[in-house]
Symmetry: C2
Subunit: 308 residues, 2 copies
């Protein structure tokens, strides 16, 4: 029996899986723990796994391995991953954010390893990429990426048949790259001004234009010229990020998901393709931008994809 854990800034989800391909069992979700000591999130996860096991009548000692798909970034403490996520750690985001703790990082890998023999922690972009490579639109590809366009912008990368991890497992934070100067005043949750996530992710769009992305997308699809201009601007920024990934890593396909993209995919895809795949033909010709094969279920399968 295996445990799948999904950690976001808002909620933590836990489920069990009997074997590869079996349905997820005992799925439960809670608001992410943000009070007490900096092991609170890990303690919460252990408690939720115990509860899921109890519900299924399973001895928690029978859990052989745990896959964790989580928001980042990561820092290493004695070689073990901790979360330095500004939407969880009050010591990083500062008093303006109002988080009820002063953590500089949240313990994660070490407490799980004290209980379970096999633990694999990856950032949620990497985990979603694994899911798309195993069951989705990136099967059989050696040079590819998964990009989520949602509340934030997350990326998982694969080059030469290998998932990229980097020195602390943070490869894929291209959502915090700089690609344009559309609005150098708008601040990202990470503290940057005017990075991709600040400009095009859900929270940034609402802040910049005073309307939710869904509303702007709907107006643009009805032909509202102002909304169309906004969407073209968003696609210019997101398209540049996708293009940058293609030329920096010589990719063959990128699959896209996330709520902002998914609900408007037929409208956004041609615009993104124009931005991302027109320049530098020797590198972009034949490259494909496609909707995630797992659709809205990418997140559900991400942690599961980390387990053999």
């Amino acid at each position: 029996m295996r445990a799948c854990v999904d950690i976001g800034g808002t909620k933590v989800a836990v489920s069990l899986s009997a074997a590869d391909g079996a349905p997820l069992l005992a799925r439960r979700s809670e608001p992410t723990a943000k009070t007490g000591d900096n092991d609170a999130v890990a303690v919460q996860i252990l408690r939720m796994i115990d509860a899921a096991c109890a519900e299924q009548g399973i001895d928690a000692a029978a859990i052989a391995c745990v896959g964790v798909s989580t928001c980042g970034p990561f820092v290493l403490q004695d070689g073990q991953i901790e979360l330095a996520a500004p939407n969880i750690c009050g010591g990083l985001s500062g008093p303006a954010r109002g988080l009820p703790n002063s953590w500089r990082s949240a313990q994660l890998e070490a407490p799980l390893r004290r209980r379970f023999a096999r633990v694999r922690v990856e950032n949620d972009g990497v985990a979603a990429l694994e899911a798309e490579r195993r069951w989705g639109a990136l099967q059989g590809l050696s040079h590819c990426a998964y990009v989520t366009w949602s509340t934030g912008v997350g990326v998982g990368l694969c080059v030469d048949g290998r998932i990229l991890r980097g020195k602390n497992g943070n490869a894929g934070h291209a959502g915090h790259s700089y690609v344009a100067d559309d609005d150098n005043e708008v601040q990202c949750g990470c503290g940057n001004f005017g990075d991709v996530e600040a400009l095009v992710a859900g929270a940034g769009v609402a802040h910049r234009f005073g309307r939710e992305p869904a509303e702007i997308m709907a107006a643009a699809q009805r032909g509202d010229p102002q909304a169309l201009q906004v969407v073209d601007g968003l696609c210019r920024v997101m398209g540049r990020m996708l293009y940058n990934l293609v030329v920096t890593l010589d990719l063959e396909r990128i699959s896209l998901g996330g709520s902002v993209f998914w609900h408007n995919r037929d409208f956004l895809l041609p615009r993104l393709r124009t931005q991302a795949l027109t320049p530098l033909p020797p590198l972009t010709q034949g490259v494909e931008l496609v909707p995630a094969g797992l659709g809205e279920r990418v997140g559900d399968y991400a942690a599961l994809a980390l387990l053999d």
Copy 2:
């Protein structure tokens, strides 16, 4: 005996090497062949290797392996690398460039493989990275990059201990990424408008400001406020590209070379560090930007570094 080949848009250089660490022999250089059939560059290389062998009194059949460090981008033809380089192929750059051929690509790997048992072709950014990892400032590192800031901007990338190649060996073309909107009218040799190379490489700077980079750098170092403003603008763009590489790939060190950087490195490094290593501390803290350990000799060692 091994042959080392360096192909640029302006010249082709060939030398021989008896063994690892031995000095390069019979080095010769010619203007890059650009007339005749699209195998002209490959024919030129074979002739230059023969001439180098003759000079050393060596039977050309004794050449066991050939390393080729070359400008790109690459395309694959029946699995063999050909050059789709706009400064060599007139069929790509169009009539305005005035190249005396209409090649869409230049043959390279296939003709060399017909003569030699072992041939390794890499883009010059990758080859320079290999040299820096073997003998320069990137020894022993698993997550690193080499960046040249010269007539063009070239990059070689290493993540998780492995050199990144990509679907056609073009990984590292971050010089053609978009990071800002400083001047969306200035055209790069690749056809893009306003990419990094267009904005900060030697040719782009001369075009944008009517003065060579060396002249602007000298004026800035004398305290000329206008020149200082130009240099700060160039460092903003180049620094953003370096930052984007760090957060996309979670690197630990980047070594820098190339004529624009090298001759002004003490002046440029602090400015680049401010741009590249200030944002997103969990990913940039402790990351190092350093001058190339091989200095101006990186290019000389690049092809040699491709051979075992």
